[in-house]
Amino acid sequence: MANMNLYSRGDKFFVRINMVLVGLFTLATLYPFIYIAAVSLSSGMAARSGVVVLTPVEATFAAYQQILVDPDFWNSYLNTFIYTIGGTIMSLLLVIPAAYALSRPQLIGRRFWNLMVAFTMWFNAGMIPFWLNMRDLGLLDSYFGIIIGFAVNAFNIILLRNFFESIPRSFEEAARMDGANEFQVLWKVFIPLSKPAIATITLFCVVARWNGFFWAMILLQDEGKIPLQVYLRKTIAELSDDHEFSSTLLSSLYSAETVNAAIIVCSIIPVLLFYPFIQKYFNKGILLGGVKE
């Protein structure tokens, strides 16, 4: 902790309250993770009777053994990777140039285009027309349909556009004088300067894609193409419907609860691994030293 002697009495009080609140918030965020991990490692009986609070009760890997042998689990896991990586790359490919174009004063009809992009944040066609549209485009039950269908997000465009707008004009001008064309200005100057913003939208895309459930469920009939989230729902449904399964519950070390928890843990791990990798780009002051205002 910073040296508290530098704070006045009132400030000290404020700092302490702050720390308590931040601590509570951290716990509130962390606890569900701990709980799910504990449940996934507990026995079916313990999970069902609700005695798991913080640590596994009657610890066992039974739930994991159950899902890790299911080829559908691995297949949906792979699908989630395909949708996440493909979707994120597609998003960046579309969002970055769009944001750049919209940020340039020389774009003809700039206000109009910006309005059109923002418009999609307030109004959209709704579920049925969207589904019909995807059907007519032949994008139902298709990897490409999922990847392209949700690649452009107005919020991300506007976020990045604002960041591009905040980059002093002289960078663009210096690059132009140096002989760069529009594409090179974007690629060699604006993108490197926008790493924090691009990291942010990358994270948004990755998380949205990784957790993407609703549209995947609506648009994908083929079980070979469903992502992990849809697989999770399917398993929940199957396990709770399965009477045979319920009757053998007493003799079994896993239950619907523990299997679900295990799937959730498996689905969280890659995101947890991904975040530290991208975190270094969230540092501020990337423009430091380049210009002096």
């Binding site: 002093p168 002289s170 960078f171 001008e173 210096a174 690059a175 132009r176 004088m177 140096d178 002989g179 760069a180 090179q184 060699k188 100057v189 490197p192 300067l193 790493k195 990337i286 423009l287 430091l288 030293g289 380049g290 210009v291 002096k292 205002e293």
Partner: protein, 368 residues
Amino acid sequence: MSGVTLEKIVKSYGKIEVVHGIDLVVAEKEFVVLVGPSGCGKSTTLRMVAGLEEISAGRITIDDRVVNEVAPKDRDVAMVFQNYALYPHLNVKENIAFGLRIRKESKANIEKQVAEVAEILGLTEYLERRPADLSGGQRQRVAMGRAIVRHPKVFLFDEPLSNLDAKLRTQMRAEIKRLHKRLGVTSIYVTHDQVEAMTLADRIVVMCDGRIEQVGTPMDLFNHPKNLFVASFIGSPPMNQIQAEVEASGDKLFAKFGAHRLELPMLHELGANDHGRKVTLGIRPEHIMTQADPDTDAIEVELDLIETLGSEALLHTTVMGKPFVVKTETRGDLSHLENVRALHFKPDMLKVFDGVNGDVFDHPERLK
């Protein structure tokens, strides 16, 4: 000839015209400084030469080629920006090499050129550093290195020193001058600082409100300002001004103000029939004497303040209710200055300006 010619250059933003038809010829290897108060259109003019702003009307020629429709990168000019615009994600070497890389020069050639430029600018030790880890002066040098390395036909500078502290500014000013001597590249330099203009320029272009007031060598502008604006802009401290009335008496003309009367120099454009005409007297602080001399007129003043600069001192007085500054030598001692009660003027040292439009009388260009 790699000079730059501006013919009747106009710039409008929408309906607002900010540059009103500028004519200027910059000779090959010349160092021309555009100077004027903030907002007078210097940057706009420079940026039109660079190709960063469209030209609303008129013609710009670089090296005998009309460049109105030529993209910045194809004009063969390089620009140093006020805020440097160094690429923060690249180190010094990569910053300097950026333009060469874009132009797909060979690796060996890039290495050689960058090393050469770094040597000239004293950046050799810093090639691996990022801009954030450089001092202001070093960043400034990198910005220049980026311009030099391309061997452009013309250098354009937009207030390159205005972000440096006074000492560094003086130092970099000298460096720019040396660099220009060494490389001999045609340069156009924008500043609002008349000292920079005076020290750097082969020729100065004084601008005001989107127009050129006067073009000339630093000494030309200092000795023969065309009007009050130029007279008050060039020189530091600025020229003193006194509102006065012409009085013809015998075959001589005098300027009358308050209870004072000063003899005016002989002028072709001012005569006995100008009796009663309003004029403005312009007197440079360094042209006023604190001691009587055979052919001087004197006015009595009270000293408000003495500012010492070392070998010189500024005497602050008040004439006709306005500040009036005298620059004089101290000869290492202030005591003789503290007793100054009168200022002495030689007629030859007075500039006389029209009281209405501010034009100087007897400007040598008009008399020819």
